[in-house]
Every structure is written in structure tokens, then in C-alpha cells.
């Protein structure tokens, strides 16, 4: 790994560890290996969002050319959000692409991702299905996002109705996550989800 990248990551790591956000438990950063090329970030769901109370893991890969090119970041924890792929966890955020600036740090990037959870950008979606639901049936979107937060990120509020529907499909021998994805995609209409799963 290029010297400047490793050196900078070490400095940033120290900066994050001493930051108020870590002290307050809003973000976390941990090393995955000794070469400083891969880190694990953690953000908590911001208050007054369906992600509140959830803890989301992020995979951070630092390229050789860092900080001249952005770190590669994706959600490891599954999340229902218009700008995050519900399949791969890929994030659509301008500063992780063409709007990257060398003065941004892991701390500011983690905070930006956290801010993205508070303010989705449906005009520039990563997940078209989620974005459509976000635009057309906001209430259903909020419930689905809260349900995913509860199931995958340890969020506090379970949606009983959704759990029941997932259980119904589970009883039919369908994988739990697959069932949840199908139901989420079809606005929790059990018939349509079943149809799609067995087609």
C-alpha cells in the first residue's frame, strides 16, 4: 500500500477515535487487518427516522490511491433505503464518486452516510424498487424500513403484521431473507409475493 494512504489512514483512525461522535456512540471504526486497507465502520440510525435504534455495519476498502480516490464503502447490514442497494449494500452518494475531495476523511464520510439515512435522495436512487415505494407510498416505505432495521440492525420496533407474512412464506419452505425481499418489493401483498417466488 502506498505510503501516503497508510499514513493518512492511521492519522484518520486516531482522529475518529478521539472524536465526539465516537465518544457519543454515533459512529465507530475498527480495523479488519493489519495493512490498514480494510476497515469496518459502524453508524447508528439517526433519530426520527425508521433507522432509529439500529446499528449498521459498513465495509470500508481503502484503495492504493487514497486519498486521491475515494474509499469503497458498502453496507454490510441489510437496509431498506432508496440510495442503498437492498441486494448488495452499494451506496449511491456523490462524495463516494465524482464529488470526492481529498480533504474528506473517514469521519466525515461516515457522518455523510449517516446524514443520507436522515435525508434520502429519491431523485438519484440506487435501488429503483425502494425509490418507487419511497415516492409512491411513503407510509409503507417507512414501515418496511423500520421492519428491516428491526430484523437486520437490531432496531427496537417490530412490525407484527410483516413478521406474520414472512412467517407464512417461511412455512412454505422459502428462505427468510428471500421472503422478506419479495414481500417488500410487492408492498407486502402476500399473493403477489408468493406468485413471484413460485414463478
Amino acid at each position: 500500500m502506498a505510503n501516503i494512504a497508510a499514513k493518512r489512514i492511521k492519522r484518520e483512525f486516531k482522529e475518529v477515535m478521539n472524536s465526539e461522535e465516537v465518544a457519543g456512540g454515533y459512529i465507530k471504526l475498527a480495523l479488519v487487518n493489519d495493512s490498514w486497507t480494510e476497515l469496518q465502520g459502524t453508524i447508528v440510525g439517526p433519530p426520527d427516522t425508521p433507522y432509529e435504534g439500529g446499528t449498521f455495519q459498513l465495509e470500508i476498502k481503502v484503495p492504493e490511491t487514497y486519498p486521491f480516490n475515494p474509499p469503497k464503502i458498502r453496507f454490510v447490514t441489510k437496509i431498506w433505503h432508496p440510495n442503498v442497494s437492498s441486494v448488495t449494500g452499494a451506496i449511491c452518494l456523490d462524495i463516494l464518486k465524482d464529488q470526492w475531495a481529498a480533504a474528506l476523511t473517514l469521519r466525515t464520510v461516515l457522518l455523510s452516510i449517516q446524514a443520507l439515512l436522515s435525508a434520502a435522495e429519491a431523485g438519484d436512487p440506487q435501488d429503483a424498487v425502494v425509490a418507487k415505494q419511497y415516492r409512491e407510498s411513503q407510509q409503507l416505505f417507512l414501515l418496511t424500513a423500520r421492519h428491516w432495521t428491526n430484523v437486520y440492525a437490531g432496531g427496537p420496533s417490530a412490525i407484527w403484521e410483516f413478521d406474520q407474512k414472512v412467517q407464512r412464506l417461511l412455512d412454505m419452505g422459502i428462505d427468510e431473507h428471500e421472503a422478506r425481499v419479495a414481500l417488500s418489493h410487492y408492498d407486502w401483498e402476500l399473493e403477489r409475493a408468493t406468485e413471484q417466488l413460485f414463478s
Binding site: I4, K7, E15, S19, Q99, A101, A102
Partner: protein, 183 residues
Amino acid sequence: MAETSEAKPSAPPPGGDAGEDDKRDERMLECNICLDTARDAVVSMCGHLFCWPCLHQWLETRPSRQVCPVCKAAISREKVIPLYGRGNTKQEDPRNKVPPRPAGQRTEPESAGGFPGFGFGEGFHMSFGIGAFPFGVFTSTFNFGDPRPSAAPRGTAQFEEEQFLSKIFLWVAILFVLWLVFA
């Protein structure tokens, strides 16, 4: 610099020990790219400090999008200012290194006086040269490198002669111009 101050673990108490102050001073001089103390420092027009090698690499990485890494203001190689500290003379000349750091621009202060050509002695000749236009061309064309003889002191016979000659040349020139116009 709001980001930097935010990131500080805790603000030092007023009148804190010198070590804390030193640390803060050092942070003020950190390169915004490598986060180390800036070496071969340059500052952008928007006021952000970088190591020249770091900024150079940033500009090379995105040739189509030359923006300040901090505030995304437009930035270019020509529009950064190198900072020469006092300790700089001890180091090797940064311009010998690759990539070369752009040089500082020095502009001479504007002179307070008016146009120097219309001074006392020399200007006298010059205004005559312009007056007798076609002949002035000859004199300035054929007298390569020769310094012009200085004007004869006022009141001497030579002075009178020169006055007379220049008047003749002036009239010749006027007649020549009139001939050009009417012929």
C-alpha cells in the same frame, strides 16, 4: 476550518499549558491532503494549505475537475501561492524536486513619477523627433546604438543654430505633409 475544530477531542482550557497551544499551532499548518505538517507548502486562492506534492497529485488525478480538495472552489496550478518560511533556506530548493513547485510572482511597485520620457534634457530631443516625423524616423533608424548628443546649453551659438535647423526641418516636414495631402 470548522471541521478541524470540531474534530478536536476537547478544547484546551483558556490559558492552558504551552504544549496544548503548540499542538494546536501545528494542526493549523497541516496539509489538507496528507494531514501531516505541510512541506513545500502552497496555498490556494481560497486559502487552503497543502503540500505541493500532494496538491500536484490531486490535480493530476482529476485533470477534468480541478477543484479545491477542501471547499471545491476552482483551483489551478497557476493560481497557487508557494509559502516561503524562514526555515526554508536551510532546505534544498523545492523547485529542484519533482514535481516542481510553481514559483511565486513578484510585481514591481508602481513608480510614483509621471512618464519619464518627458523629463528635462532628453525629452526636449524626443518631442522634436516626433514633430519632424519623417526625419525622426531616419535619425532613429540610422543611429544604431549611438547615444544622442545632449542638447547644447541655452544661449550659445550652437543652441541658436540647432533651434534654427529644427525650425527649418519643421517647415520642411509641414510642406512635405501638405504636398502629400494635396498632390
